[in-house]
Amino acid sequence: MTTPVEIVKKDEESAAEHDLCMMTRRRFLMTGSATVVSVSTISLSLFPGSSVHAEVVNYPRKHIARLSELKDDEPVDFSYPDNGAHSSAMLVKMGGAKAGGAIGPQSDVVAFSYVCTHQGGPLQGQYKAVDNHRVLGQCPMHLSTFDLTRHGIVASGQAYESLPQVLLELDGDDIYAVGIMGLLYGRNQNLIKS
């Protein structure tokens, strides 16, 4: 938790917002454990000015991949926040397609749940790169697709929540999952109390 988050300077507005996001999140994470212990959730502004909020706290920090080993548009599977039901997720470097909440020098590395928020359909194998668009879907159950460049918002279909986005941190070459934005299908809370 002590390695500084990598900041990549970009002149586009979007990239600036992205950096702000990660900075804000980082600050929160660095101070959070000590100061907000009595608060169970906190609303975190990822994008000042554009107001995407998420409730992320108390998630495990899990090493999931190395940036240098990711290949463009080839998803890597992992489990998060635990190994229980509906924890399967994917990490992908989207070949330079910039995305909200992404990390990496090109702001193109994102991670999402593999479980469709409509009725729990499996999205494994459904990653699509078409022109500059990156979607997950169609879900084999009811054909929903999710836009991975826009925090997993429904591009088309029947799901009534965005696909939960796994929040990432880049620590040197190491990629960590540090939280989830949105409720995983099938769960009443992402963090299952043991």
């Binding site: 554009s50 169609q138 918002i153 429904v154 088309s156 279909g157 929540e161 949105g182 299908y185 299952i192």
Partner: protein, 899 residues
């Protein structure tokens, strides 16, 4: 709570002892079944163990099992105390949304409930009167007294037709019955119509005249076909469950699909990945394509001769009285000129001979006109019939607005004829009908006073009054608007709005005092001076009808706030339970109308509750497709009310028309209308010959005098002058518009107030083909202005004498058509999913901008009186870059047809 969507990572579960009520989704025609779980916020939430929650399931639950998305939870007031509600699709459902499937609209319906901590906080909660230009809260008594006094005055001084009623046709039978009883039985105004048409006319003239009910098929029929033709819609986008529960599983099992659509969305793309035929035609050309397919079928002899022989009328049969008088029927005058009527399929005056004589229906000519490969016409003909080889496939035909609102009469005639020669209409899996738009919640409380309509078409027939033209002509002195926007829901809407400005806002007689007598006096003077007074019932203040024009606003109670009854697109009738308190002083529309009716001296408005309204209305449903009268008979036999009896039937309900077997005490529904496979024993079993049961021809036959089908011509010439005039000139493109999955029959409360939907669609969009975009320097995410100075509108209420008097070119020649300007702003989405030369946008506007309906011609179909809403042209230019172009939060430019 923010107006922005905030993903949450936990959700409360209903405890084991949560109350459970049934309802259905409030939005699209399909009306999925939903359960409402309710428990006080002061009580403990449920836990993740099966024994701790109302679902009896361990969390995390498995795929397709009970789950609560955070958008499915809300907090509402029930009997004055805060309660949690969780509203999720009924997992036990064996009909419609089988197993608890749901759309994005119904899936988020809990967000619809009034909760001042959410963007629903601007619900109308008190009656309002516009005083000194500002809508101010007043008592119900004042609002109702003023409205009734001014209403009485307008009727007395200016005649009933000066009192115009524009109401929703669907928002529950209790309300539609009350409003139409008030308007048609008591006021008896011919200036009456529904939300989606300028005059009270049939939506699908071709179906009506052929003898087909719009909603004859059951949902199962769509899936039981071997080949399905889908016209002017993608049922995945709109009518979601029909697609995911019935059509898609059938495609997986090998059903062929043929789509007529200028645009490709997710369902169509999926079907294409399974071999579907996509006929991507220009707007308005369906008639010639269908005619060409029919021509190929008849030339090759692939038609269903046995069916035709048994079920198609010859000339004598179709002439032998239409059952509604020999003269004064819509069908009769339509055929007066010999333009539609045939001597059946064969012979000199038969449909086949006519088709062969029409050059537009020659396959090559049709393909050129429609901009499609000619091979598709032959391919479709072969698929629909089996091409004369082997067993004939079961073909069904489903249409929706993109089709019947582009050449209303021509297209609906053509689809009826092709369906008939393919043997569809009256057998399982071989049906023809609409997929549907809004739910079916209309029960007529009176007869439309057609003879009071000053509008006459050639022949002796009067046509229902065009309320828009009537208003534009300055004859409307009081506009009573119930749950619709009127203006932007119509075509050429800018011109219509200008007229509202002139008649309402710019009239010198504006209310300046809170004194009742003074208000009444001022509004009477407004009406007497040629101006117009506006009454508006709604749940939110709509722009501009509420915000700018309404003199009096009545706050309405709606879904979940009152027990209501309605049916879906397969005539399935169900109770929509009240489960929370209506906000503030909001009251259901039937109650508002009852108070007005009593004040205006009308009898029969003394209902105590919505069940009483429903019970009174039931006998007026007899004989129609959702006849629910026999449910009341059964209920009373069992000592219950109609609402109680329906509540017992939960989300399954019963399909109308309903029958009661007095001997066995059983209620029976109707799977499909025109069911030629029903036997005498089936009818006996349903008890159809006894008591108040109403044996209706359409149960086993078709809606014509003989009970057989009228096969009709569909001359392109009735429409071709409009189409040619409309066709893009210079750098214009076709502009057609319609609905999107995320906002489908739900725009009235979710677009601005459901954070997730607002994030997805903060603004209107327009799909532009990459070639068209490139030529104009437009990229995805750019702000574009669609603009036209060629928006035609028909200005005068006229009496037709000559046969062609309502033909567009004649109207033009005689000075009845004027040209208006129209413009609408949208965010460009450049995609090959839309046909080159055609643009597609959402028909209204999610933001505060002008509805894209502003660009569509305000000229009604010359036969039916409906607008051809889908016909428009427009230029388009870039006017800047939207913020959505570079950000990662709102909208999405990912094409909807990625499979």
């Amino acid at each position: 709570m923010s107006k922005e969507y905030t993903p949450r990572d936990s959700v409360p579960l209903p405890p084991k002892n949560a109350e459970k009520l049934t309802t259905c989704c409030d939005y699209c025609i399909v009306a999925c079944g939903y359960n409402v779980y309710r428990w006080p916020t002061s009580a403990a939430d449920g836990g993740p163990k099966a024994g701790q929650n109302a679902f009896g399931e361990d969390f995390p639950t498995a795929m397709l099992k009970s789950w609560v998305a955070p958008t499915q939870h809300n907090v509402v007031m029930h009997k004055g105390k805060p309660h949690n509600v969780v509203i999720i699709p009924d997992r036990e459902s064996k009909v419609v949304n089988i197993g608890g499937d749901s759309s994005i609209r119904g899936g988020t319906i809990a967000q619809k409930c009034f909760n001042p901590d959410t963007p629903t906080r601007d619900r109308l909660t008190q009656p309002l009167i516009r005083i000194n230009g500002t809508l101010q809260p007043v008592s119900w008594e004042l609002a109702l007294d003023v409205a009734a006094e001014v209403g009485k005055h307008v009727i007395k001084e200016h005649g009933a037709n000066a009192y115009s009623v524009k109401q929703f046709s669907y928002q529950f039978v209790e309300n539609t019955y009350a409003v139409s009883k008030f308007a048609k039985r008591h006021i008896r105004t011919a200036s009456f119509t529904f939300h989606d048409t300028p005059s009270d006319v049939t939506s699908t003239p071709g179906f009506r005249d052929a003898g087909f009910d719009n909603f004859a098929p059951s949902y199962k029929d769509w899936g039981d076909a071997d080949v399905l033709m889908i016209c002017g819609t993608d049922p995945y986008e709109t009518k979601t469950m029909i697609f995911t529960q019935f059509i898609r599983p059938a495609i997986e099992k090998g059903m062929k699909t043929i789509w007529l659509n200028p645009r490709e969305t997710a369902g169509l793309a999926y079907a294409k990945s399974r071999g579907a035929l996509h006929i991507q035609l220009y707007p308005g050309t369906d008639t010639v394509v269908l005619g060409a397919i029919s021509r190929v079928i008849l030339e090759k002899g692939w038609e269903d001769k046995e069916w035709i022989d048994k079920w198609v009328n010859n000339m004598w049969e179709s002439s032998s009285g239409f059952g509604q008088g020999t003269r004064n029927t819509p069908w009769q005058w339509r055929t007066t000129w010999g333009k539609f009527q045939t001597d059946g399929v064969y012979g000199k005056k038969g449909y086949k001979q006519w088709l062969l004589s029409q050059k537009e229906h020659e396959p090559k000519a049709a393909a050129v006109l429609a901009g499609i490969p000619v091979e598709q016409i032959y391919q479709a003909a072969e698929w629909l019939t089996g091409g004369g080889k082997g067993e004939r496939p079961k073909a069904s035909f489903g249409i929706e607005k993109g089709f019947y609102w582009s050449n209303n009469t021509g297209n609906t005639n053509a689809i009826s004829s092709i369906a008939t020669i393919c043997g569809a209409g009256g057998r399982p899996g071989q049906m023809v009908g609409r997929f549907g738009g809004h739910q079916r919640g209309g029960t007529g409380g009176g007869k439309y006073p057609r003879n009071k309509s000053p509008e006459k078409v050639p022949g002796r027939r009067r046509r229902a009054l065009d309320t828009d033209r009537w208003l534009v002509s300055g004859h409307t002195r009081l506009a009573h608007v119930v749950g619709t926007t009127w203006i932007q829901a119509m075509c050429g809407s800018e011109g219509l709005q200008d007229k509202f400005d002139e008649l309402v806002t710019n009239n010198p007689h504006q209310v300046r005092s809170k004194d009742k007598a003074s208000i009444i006096g001022t509004l009477k003077k407004r009406a007497d001076s040629g101006g117009m007074v506006v009454l508006d019932h709604d749940i939110y203040l709509r722009n501009p009808i509420g915000t700018k024009y309404a003199d009096i606003v009545f706050p309405a109670a709606t879904w979940g706030e009152e027990d209501f009854v309605r049916s879906n697109g397969e005539r399935r009738i169900r109770l929509y339970s009240k489960f929370y308190d209506a906000p503030g002083e909001a009251r259901p529309d039937w109650w508002i109308i009852a108070q007005l009716g009593k004040r205006m001296g009308f009898d029969g408005f003394d209902w105590k509750d919505s069940n009483e309204v429903c019970e009174e209305s039931s006998r007026f449903s007899r004989g129609n497709r959702k006849a629910y009268h026999m449910i009341k008979v059964a209920a009373h036999k069992e000592g219950k009310t109609l609402h109680q009896k329906l509540r017992e039937m939960g989300t399954e309900g019963i399909q109308g028309p309903t029958f009661y077997n007095y001997a066995t005490g059983e209620l029976h529904g109707t799977v499909r209308l025109h069911d030629t496979t029903l036997t005498e024993a089936d009818l006996q079993r349903r008890g159809e010959y006894v008591g108040a049961n109403m044996l209706n021809k359409k149960t086993t036959h078709f809606n014509t005098q003989t009970g057989r089908i009228n096969i009709q011509k569909h001359p392109w010439s009735l429409f071709s002058d409009y189409w040619s005039w409309m066709s893009p000139k210079d750098d214009e493109l076709w502009h057609t518009n319609g609905r999107i999955n995320e906002v489908w029959q739900s725009g009235f409360d979710d677009m601005e107030r459901r954070p997730y939907i607002a994030q997805r669609w903060p603004e209107n969009f327009v799909e532009i083909h990459p070639d068209d975009a490139k030529a104009r320097g437009i990229e995805s995410g750019d702000w574009v202005l669609m603009h036209s100075d060629r928006v035609p509108y028909h200005v005068h209420t006229i009496k037709g004498v000559g046969g062609d008097d309502f033909q567009f070119s004649e109207l033009m020649k005689n000075g009845h058509i004027k040209l208006d300007k129209g413009a609408a702003k949208a965010v460009a989405m450049v995609t090959p999913a839309v046909k080159k030369g055609v643009m597609y946008s959402y028909f209204l506007s999610p933001g505060k901008g002008q509805a894209s309906n502003a660009l569509q011609g305000r000229v009604v179909d010359n036969i039916s009186g409906n607008y051809n809403f889908k016909m428009g042209v427009s230029k388009v230019k870039k006017i800047g870059e939207s913020k959505y172009k570079k950000e990662f939060v709102h909208m999405s430019f990912a094409p909807r047809n990625i499979v």
